[in-house]
Symmetry: C2
Subunit: 442 residues, 2 copies
Amino acid sequence: MATDERSDDRLAIDDLRNAWVVLSTDERVLGFGLLSPDQAEEFFLNLPPADAAELLAALPSQDRRRWMRLLAPDDAADLIQAAPEEMRHSLLELLDESTRREVSGLLAYKEDRAGGIMNPRYARLRPDMSVDEAITYLRRQARENLEMVYYAYVVAPDGELLGVVSFRELFSARPDVNVRDVMHTDVITVDEQMDQEAVTHIFAEHDLIAIPVVDAARKMKGIVTYDDIVDVVEQEATEDIQKIGGTQALGAPYLSLTMMEMIKKRVGWLAALFIGELLTATAMAYFEDEIARAVVLAMFVPLIISSGGNSGSQATTLVIRAMALGELRLRDWWRVIQRELITGLALGTVLGVMGFVRVVGWNMIKPVYGEHAIHLGLVVFFSLIGVITFGTLMGSLLPFVLRRCRIDPAAASAPFVATLVDVTGLVIYFSVAILFLSGRLL
Amino acid sequence: MATDERSDDRLAIDDLRNAWVVLSTDERVLGFGLLSPDQAEEFFLNLPPADAAELLAALPSQDRRRWMRLLAPDDAADLIQAAPEEMRHSLLELLDESTRREVSGLLAYKEDRAGGIMNPRYARLRPDMSVDEAITYLRRQARENLEMVYYAYVVAPDGELLGVVSFRELFSARPDVNVRDVMHTDVITVDEQMDQEAVTHIFAEHDLIAIPVVDAARKMKGIVTYDDIVDVVEQEATEDIQKIGGTQALGAPYLSLTMMEMIKKRVGWLAALFIGELLTATAMAYFEDEIARAVVLAMFVPLIISSGGNSGSQATTLVIRAMALGELRLRDWWRVIQRELITGLALGTVLGVMGFVRVVGWNMIKPVYGEHAIHLGLVVFFSLIGVITFGTLMGSLLPFVLRRCRIDPAAASAPFVATLVDVTGLVIYFSVAILFLSGRLL
């Protein structure tokens, strides 16, 4: 569909790509060996870093040098970071002197910082070149292995970033004016230590194709380009989604994890939540007398606590995502609480009415709840309002609390909030029941 | 932090941007009016389409033309699409003749198709130009309002896409050879009707900065660029996250929805889930006699059903995300079931043991469960294995079923799966209890 159907080349690559996740390492090496040199090159350059490292480890050692040298410095750094500890040094050794220095520089950054995702090669100009000289100079730079995109950066001899000029502006400028006269000095930059998620927000706000990375002295270190950012955006969203779902972030495609790894990533949270849920048994035991006297109360326990959990799950999910997109900041907590209080009361009232109708209406058709049906209906009505309002508030507050404690807000997963609300929900429900049914059913 | 701190210009823009969501329309117009012409231009170009449309509607009519004409055709189309129905025609009228034709063409596509996100302007070359002529020609094209990125497209007189050449290749080629000799004919393209989420996968697989959009006859229609794709990736992830959390996709930033809109987006699913949860009351009523005879059974109801819900929430989240990333396809369902069956049994066993220890261990300290503690412990043990395995299978299967029925798999939200598992979990739990406790507690 995306491919040129007249070309058999593409088919071979796509076949291998589709089969990739289910192939063993040996089969991968075999399949890779069947590609033509051009195909192999394209295929290798598009492999995720961890897969590329694994493939490289399985190839004969004399082939490795060639493949490593094909990579741009930032991709080489990613591959080395994804390789097993003991392989890293020897992979670095395969690079030529100057690239090795660039890659070592990149490896010094944390993976999730602007410096860790940038490319140290970019199109650079001097301010006192003429536009015509600049274009010729760029043509020469293009001949080297340079990830050249939309902008050329104007850099002083000491490395300070002076300005930026888009290729379009350079192309359309009069040939005899100086670069200094066409460049913009008001450049959007990011600091080399900026968190990658913050970098994605800068990209989204300014709609740029590349952003220069500078150090504290405004010395030019490299550029972050759009293709890096798409990967970061997908990866951050995946981590958030998985955390919201109540697992550790998998960190690898679903099918490529072994069963043991998969279970390990999931059992931790599940066991922690289970320990939290054990409190429900304690809470229930506390109200054992009430249940023994009015078994009918037990009937509505799952309904009440699940409704609280569902409303909490909605609230936490919305707030976590809004935070990740930069729509909500820490200082917005009070506005969110106000909104969620009203939302919770409204949602609770709607569901409360539905619950009341279920109890009282059903009792008219089949009088199972006897003379106390209306009181039981009121217990369900008020409990639902209380539990849903509480769930909504909990779900929206918790991400703020976590962020305040410098923990990833996405850890306030839907199951985590549901568990918190289950325990409190039981207390709310039975307290309301005692209030309304004392002297009647209780 | 991202901004050049030496520049006051940036501060004014950033202040307005930060305050934007909390400002009324009148305040927005006021703040926008305070910006310098350059600032206002940058600010306007970076507004989300809906906000830009709202601002435009509030500006004096003589200003609107100028702002509309500032937009690239794809951005103009987005703005018009985001404007209220009755404004659209008059906005279109503000554009010049040729742009209006382009924008009308774009508006004919559905928003979520490749044709709906593409830009109809791109750098185009003829195959029989020399490299030097091509560079000169590109310089002329650059002077027009052209979103020029990394590639130039070689197009036949009838519009058929013949090949692509990167600027880098063009720059570094010998000046006297023809474009035909340096271009690649094996071009990755997308069809104008391709779904935007599929387009993001093509980008991710091939690491390109722009992809040409063609029709069924391979005629060139426009290009989709990376900046469009980042927006799509964020937007699709946001929709998925919100659906997984059990609400309708908000479709707008959290704080920009009115309370009424917010409640509307959330009440639908919550009420539907509530109706599903009503079945738990029915299931509980079915086992009312057992509960009356052994009230202790009620104690563990929240624990058992929540554990099932949590494991189902994990499974559905992982599968939905893996599908969205293209890691899992419909045909993988059987492999997923096998993996999730084993995972569910393993997780169930771990939690089952914890539950058994809670019941039997607690009884040794405080003999609340009497002589039947071990049997009760076994009921909890086997129920947890059953419920968690069932939850895991349900959670992983449901997204496949929905996709098979051409419904968005993300509708298999965590709360939805939890509700399904609650009802079944009760039946599993009480059935196991009857099996183990008949003649003892029951």
